[in-house]
């Protein structure tokens, strides 16, 4: 009996230690983010204080306002929101339509066209950027929103992910709707889309964040400072004012806010979504 009790006690102790250890690991892991916010509200001379300290001499929340207006991250945020939102809508709409065709309609060459899509899944972005840049120059889309949006919107990934998901949905519902006189468009919009919220949520999340965070393509295609996205603006600011770390960190915090908020809002889709398509947008 006492043996059993001590075994149970050891079990609880181990679980307790495990939990404390995890909290410690999480704290270390999140430290860079804490340090970012901490530095963002410090006066810049304190950034170079030795030994470094977590407590700001004065808490300068105004640094965020400076970064927003003066640097001007506000403008970059607006650009990035326009680009990421339109890009996400284009990806979600066109790839769910294409996935519907691939999973629900019969037409000649369907499987070969789909194979063509799948064949490009592993193509690195680096292979495409040079011709894409030359195309953009030809059609005059350099330094424009559409020049950032469209070349990134038609990779095979979204169509592939949604097609896999749509195929897993039972066809009885669309047959019933079809007999009731529902059009194909109606089947997609009223039946398949509502049933595919997890897949669409995850695709939307990764697409939006993918646009928001992308650096290489905006670096290539955008030229005037007014057009910069947030990462590009951050990089340019870093290039000009390498030691103004407090403003840089305020900008970093601004750049990270949408991703962090979206992860928290859409967390319940994350595990499911990653197991659906596996890839998760990369």
């Amino acid at each position: 009996m006492s043996h059993k009790r001590s075994a149970a006690w050891a079990h609880y102790a181990a679980a307790g230690i495990s939990r404390v250890l995890l909290l410690f690991v999480i704290a270390i892991f999140l430290f860079p983010l804490l340090w970012m916010v901490d530095t963002a509200v410090k006066p810049n001379i304190q950034v170079f204080e030795f030994p470094p300290s977590l407590i700001p001499w004065t808490t300068m929340w105004g640094n965020f306002e400076e970064a927003w207006n003066f640097v001007p991250f506000g403008r970059y945020v607006v650009n990035d929101i326009i680009i990421s939102t339109i890009g996400t809508v284009v990806v979600l709409v066109t790839s769910s339509m294409a996935a519907f065709a691939f999973s629900r309609l019969r037409f000649r060459g369907r499987d070969s066209v789909f194979l063509l899509y799948v064949g490009t899944l592993a193509v690195p972005q680096a292979v495409l950027v040079i011709p894409e840049f030359l195309i953009m120059k030809q059609i005059g889309w350099v330094d424009s929103y559409q020049g950032v949006i469209f070349p990134l919107a038609f990779t095979a990934f979204g169509t592939f992910l949604l097609r896999q998901f749509f195929r897993g949905l039972p066809t009885e519902l669309d047959d019933a709707a079809f007999i009731d006189g529902c059009s194909r468009w109606g089947i997609l919009v009223r039946i398949i889309v509502p049933l595919s919220k997890p897949a669409l949520g995850v695709l939307g999340l990764f697409t939006f964040v993918g646009y928001w965070n992308n650096f290489l393509w905006p670096l290539i295609i955008l030229q005037s400072p007014d057009m910069s996205t947030v990462p590009l603006g951050l990089y340019q600011f870093h290039g000009q004012f390498a030691i103004e770390f407090n403003y840089q960190m305020a900008g970093c915090a601004i750049s990270m806010a949408p991703g962090i908020i979206l992860v928290i809002l859409l967390q319940r889709y994350l595990v499911d979504g990653i197991s659906i398509g596996g890839f998760g947008g990369r």
């Binding site: 999480i26 470094p52 193509v123 011709p131 195309i135 960190m249």
Partner: protein, 312 residues
């Protein structure tokens, strides 16, 4: 006789209906597929073919391009003094980063799965950096690596009582610095992939193993690892593909330096293409990268039969 005729007519009518339906189906297929397919052809497939063609030319944006055959590839592997170093850097990152990422995220996933109350929150917290821009992450780490006043350098001094390496300005430490940043940002992704894999392992296997007297370690080796191997395979393939393409981290952290000691293939491609306007040459770098990705991925698919365990 009559009934046969009638049957023929009925068959003909059914066939006509079917054909009409098929035609309508093809029309609506074209409408549904059209927008995406056009974009795919114009922005993915055409650039893919075009970059291969460009890699056989000397296009510099200024002068008109000439066909140079395999000259770009020859130059890369024989006369370019930098390319071998760049290739080596890229592969060193893969060799250092991928095993580290996979081992840590598997262990973390297994550890977390035992903690029912905290695991969901912990997974989300580890996932947060995955969703943030690599540029921002790199800037934070520039600050952390900063000589003397950076936290990492300060911790090094407190622990080892000697000045830390000047991470981003050291030929030895630039690549590890890039690996650490990439690791911090991306470990949460595979953690999630492996957590999903762990969830799908039925409890009976663990119960049976426990009944047979298998301890924790043996259950991990004989149940968890084989059952998780499809996820590990999948995670490894993707992590290798993405780590072969690092650009943001080296570009921001070290600019590929000091010298070219941390220049990756994509960074080299960018420099050749947009700093020296050698679009043809840069395209050949892109295709060497693509070939490496295809070879490594194909090799992994061949090897998987040896170690990946699929439920029949």
């Amino acid at each position: 006789m009559q009934s046969a005729v009638r049957r023929d007519e009925a068959d003909g009518a059914a066939r006509r209906v079917r054909r009409a339906r098929k035609r309508r189906e093809s029309v609506s297929a074209a409408l549904f597929l059209g927008p995406n397919l056009l974009g795919f052809l114009f922005f993915t497939l055409f650039p893919l073919v075009a970059s291969l063609v460009l890699s056989f030319t000397d296009w510099s944006l200024i002068a008109s391009p000439h066909w140079v055959g395999l000259h770009n590839y020859e130059r890369l592997f024989t006369t370019d003094p930098e390319f071998w170093q760049v290739l080596k850097n890229t592969l060193l990152i893969v060799v250092g980063y991928v095993p580290l990422n996979i081992v840590v995220s598997v262990l973390l996933a297994v550890w977390l799965s035992s903690m029912v109350k905290m695991r969901n929150l912990a997974r989300v917290l580890f996932f947060v950096p995955v969703m943030t821009p690599a540029v921002g992450v790199a800037l934070i780490f520039i600050l952390l690596y900063y000589p003397r006043t950076g936290i990492i350098d300060w911790a090094w001094l407190s622990i080892f009582h000697s000045q830390g390496p000047d991470w981003t300005n050291s030929e030895t430490w630039a690549l590890p610095a890039i690996i650490i940043v990439t690791m911090w940002q991306n470990v949460g992704y595979n953690l999630l992939v492996f957590s999903a894999g762990l969830q799908s392992i039925p409890d009976q296997y663990y119960e049976a193993a426990a009944l047979d007297g298998a301890g924790r370690f043996r259950r991990f080796v004989h149940v968890t690892l084989p059952m998780l191997s499809p996820s590990i395979f999948f995670g490894t393939v993707l992590t290798i593909i993405t780590s072969l393409q690092l650009f943001d981290q080296p570009y921001i952290l070290t600019e590929g330096g000091p010298g070219i000691s941390s220049t990756t293939m994509v960074l080299y491609l960018y420099q050749e293409g947009w700093q020296f306007n050698q679009m043809g040459y840069a395209s050949s770098i892109a295709w060497v990268l693509f070939l490496i990705i295809m070879l490594v991925t194909a090799g992994q698919f061949l090897l998987q039969r040896k170690w990946v365990h699929y439920e029949s």
